[in-house]
């Protein structure tokens, strides 16, 4: 028995990094199962390719970064291997696994497998490993990989996918690629005019009966995961809430403007469509809340979510890409060092903090309203 000299405090909570990542995996599980059921083999292939790419990349990374220093002696490969993988632990598997599952769920079902592979490699290497691995990355690896694959290979994506909903005739509401325009996703159709929000009913969109990426359409399972994460406190609900609420408010104003210009469009139909089509909930629950890439103080987190919401709204309304969640997450990730710069960030809610948030929201909402009302490029 030895008396150990330590410094206070001597006790700590039970939760650790491993349990947090396991919680995220468990929260992702319902959505993943749903994706397997609906997209069957397509989903399985994408899943296997992305997680194996990511876990293997991390494995190679650990070996490359822990090379045995030169000490004059010759060492066998076994010794070198042992030295390099001394620090390899469960976190080196769970981290890429979480990224891989999220990446799987935001890839479109029609993505060719080489695109999946290249995107996964880009996401894990450029998005995470070059910064130093877990805890050092600036960008969300899944979002980076998905956007890279989308920018490089989107012309190769196959838009007519066999899915569970479309193979069973009774359940089909949109038709299996018959009359739908080439754009594919529900949001993509909007570039042809806002009347296309009536292509899918709100209930169908809520249940995921629309073409889209593997996981982001199933709002119910995403919400189940969100509740699990919030109960286990493995994700910050303030980020999710700020992002969704400020997005909904801005879209409400946009909806009012658009319906005043075009009386065929209902305000709340538009709002519901914008909330349910695309990856808003998935991004809010699983990607924006990634603790590594979000600020560490509460006002900063809310400001970060607000910035992401504003960018999402702008890309969706005025951008040439139909979906803005991925871009908005990456751009908000870039803002994190600025948001938490100690000279002006304050962990308390002060008048300065709150007025900055309210001011940003008001300024960008009014610009948005002005552009919709007086800009002539909005498709109506």
């Amino acid at each position: 028995m030895i008396f150990v000299k330590k410094t206070s405090p001597y006790i700590s909570i039970k939760a650790d990094v491993k349990t947090m990542m396991l919680d995220v995996l468990i929260a992702l599980l319902p959505t993943l199962i749903f994706a397997f059921v609906v997209y069957q083999l397509n989903a399985l292939y994408i899943f296997l390719i992305s997680i194996s790419t990511m876990i293997l990349s991390e494995f190679v990374f650990v070996g490359v970064t822990h090379i045995m220093p030169y000490d004059g002696n010759k060492h066998s490969f076994k010794e070198k291997f042992k030295f390099a993988y001394k620090t390899y632990n469960i976190n080196n598997v769970l981290g890429p696994l979480v990224s891989g599952v999220i990446y799987t769920l935001i890839m479109p079902a029609g993505a060719p497998l080489y695109a999946v592979f290249v995107g996964a490699l880009f996401g894990i290497v450029i998005g995470k490993l070059v910064f130093g691995g877990l805890g050092h990355n600036i960008f969300n690896p899944a979002a980076a990989g998905m956007l890279f694959a989308k920018l490089c290979f989107s012309s190769q994506y196959n838009n007519n996918i066999e899915s569970f909903y479309f193979t069973i005739p009774g359940l089909s509401s949109g038709g299996s690629g018959g009359d739908i325009a080439v754009g594919g996703t529900a949001l993509g159709n909007l570039t042809n005019g806002y009347e296309h929000i009536y292509d899918y009913s709100l209930l169908d969109m809520f249940l995921g009966k629309m073409p889209g990426t593997l996981g982001e359409a199933f709002t119910i399972t995403i919400l189940i995961g969100a509740i699990y994460l919030i109960v286990r406190r493995s994700a910050d609900f303030r980020i999710m809430l700020t992002y969704i609420v400020s997005f909904a408010l801005m879209m409400l104003f946009a909806g009012i403007c658009i319906s005043s210009l075009n009386n065929k469009i209902g305000i709340f139909d538009f709002l519901g469509f914008e909330l349910l089509a695309g990856g808003l909930f998935f991004g809010a629950v699983f990607m924006l809340t990634d603790p590594v890439t979000s600020p560490i103080n509460l006002p900063g987190r809310m400001l970060y979510a607000l910035i992401a919401a504003i960018i999402t709204v702008y890309i969706r309304l005025f951008g040439s890409y139909p979906e803005g969640v991925g871009f908005s997450i990456l751009i908000a990730n870039m803002m994190v060092p600025v948001i938490e710069y100690p000279k002006w960030s304050n962990p308390k809610f002060t008048i300065k903090n709150v007025s900055l948030m309210v001011g940003l929201f008001v300024v960008f909402t009014s610009i948005m309203v002005l552009v919709i009302m007086f800009g002539d490029k909005i498709a109506l």
């Binding site: 410094t7 700590s12 600020p295 987190r301």
Partner: protein
């Protein structure tokens, strides 16, 4: 876990109901020659001299004050011995062999109620100075300095919150000596000429609440305040905020707002000093933790070696496991590299824990430390600045506000000892 941690493990339920065991006559007592605030001392006695209980046997010198050293038993001065003090240093202790007669010094006198009624604040200050009363909650700040304030005091707060887990010594004092506490408060009220005092306890201590609503009935000027159950509720700013809804600014003393606060053990010491003119020679301590066989509450003589108390508790549990010995609470106490340490006036508890090696992982910026910090600091940013040796940024982050409550390390998901980095930052910021 991404959450504001306020409620930490408690582990008090069993200990609070254990009766206090008296162990007031050890064979030898050891009295510290210096302590955290006083670094020099002078002895008035020689080896072989007979000393009486409460006799002044020396003097400690600090920067701004002197503090008499009192013998806590009667007996023979054997010599100086090196032992561990509460502050973790190996210092000289005066070893006195107990003759078990408890002969009192001539300075002891019982003051009648009429005599006490006539005492002014200045006279009480002198008495407290002679009795070397210090803050017994762990601060060891001289109480007479608090009495010297010229501010008008409106309300006196008695801190009996004891927000640290495991410790129950204040609760036992509250249960066993309500009379001493009430009289002590009455003396303090008389000294500051104010007519309002609040005893602050955690709202979950139902039994204490029942006892004190009954006991305090004849004293309308003393009231019970039930405050929150969270940690660090016992921090004076948090206590004042919960009890009186007054928020103190940084660098603002409670006295400037007309508030005076004492620990409940200090109030018992104050009662003894005013009533009998004696210093603190006995105190309640808790010996507990998962590394000890039978946890117990003790009332011990100041100067008792910890080893004897551990033997009284049945020795160590699981002797093959490494142990951590803590004097004070598990969140803020000091760990001692050996069990060869001594109970001094300010030790509230001895906690023996089995050592758990926590593997440090990479910070994943969950932000729990930032949310939990009661001083609204950003411990993780301070840590990064210390790692980068960025003095400018450390100063911007203002680590000197830190009270070392330990919540940042307690709440850390990656098991990083954040508080150690904040301590380093405090040294950097003072440069």
């Amino acid at each position: 876990m991404i959450a504001k941690v306020r409620h930490i493990v408690d582990k008090k339920r069993l200990m609070a109901n254990l009766p206090t065991e008296r162990y007031v006559d050890p064979k030898y007592v050891y009295i510290a020659t210096n302590n955290a605030r006083c670094d020099k001392s002078e002895l008035y006695i020689k080896v072989g001299d007979h000393v009486n209980c409460f006799q002044v046997i020396g003097m400690r010198f600090a920067k701004y004050f002197v503090q008499p050293i009192h013998a806590t038993v009667s007996g023979t001065f054997v010599g100086l011995e090196k032992h561990y003090h509460r502050n973790g240093k190996l210092i000289d202790f005066i070893k006195i062999e107990n003759d078990f007669k408890d002969t009192f010094d001539s300075s002891v006198k019982k003051r009648s109620d009429e005599e006490i009624k006539k005492l002014t604040k200045e006279e009480m200050t002198e008495i407290l100075k002679d009795c070397a009363l210090v803050g017994l909650g762990g601060s060891s700040f001289p109480t007479y300095v608090k009495f010297q304030t010229n501010e008008k005091i409106n309300v006196i707060l008695i801190n009996a919150i004891e927000c640290e887990p495991y410790i129950t010594s204040d609760q036992r004092i509250m249960r066993e000596y309500p009379n001493r506490i009430i009289n002590g408060i009455l003396y303090a009220l008389q000294a500051f000429q104010c007519n309002k005092a609040y005893i602050c306890i955690k709202s979950k201590y139902k039994q204490l609440k029942e006892i004190y609503t009954e006991v305090l009935k004849p004293y309308p000027q003393i009231q019970l305040k039930c405050v929150g159950n969270f940690y660090p509720q016992g921090w004076e700013k948090a206590m004042i905020k919960s009890a009186l809804h007054i928020t103190l600014k940084d660098n603002e003393l409670p006295m400037q707002k007309g508030i005076m606060n004492f620990n409940v053990s200090t109030i018992v010491g104050l009662y003894k000093a005013i009533k009998y003119n004696i210093p603190v020679v006995k105190r309640n301590i808790t010996v507990t933790g998962d590394g000890i066989m039978y946890p117990k509450n003790f009332r011990v003589r100041v100067g008792t070696p910890v080893k004897e108390l551990i033997q009284l508790c049945g020795g160590y549990k699981d002797p093959e496991k490494n142990k951590v010995i803590i004097l004070g609470g598990p969140m803020m106490g000091a760990s001692i590299p050996s069990d060869d340490c001594i109970i001094t006036k300010t030790v509230t508890s001895v906690i023996i824990l089995n050592d758990v090696e926590n593997k440090e992982e990479q910070c994943i910026r969950c932000g729990s430390c930032v949310m939990s910090c009661p001083c609204h600091l950003q411990p993780v940013l301070i840590m990064n600045a210390v790692k980068a040796k960025d003095k400018e940024r450390i100063k911007t982050l203002n680590p000197l506000k830190c009270i070392e409550c330990g919540l940042c390390t307690y709440s850390c998901t990656s098991k990083i000892h954040v508080l150690d980095f904040v301590r380093k930052a405090k040294i950097f910021a003072k440069l």
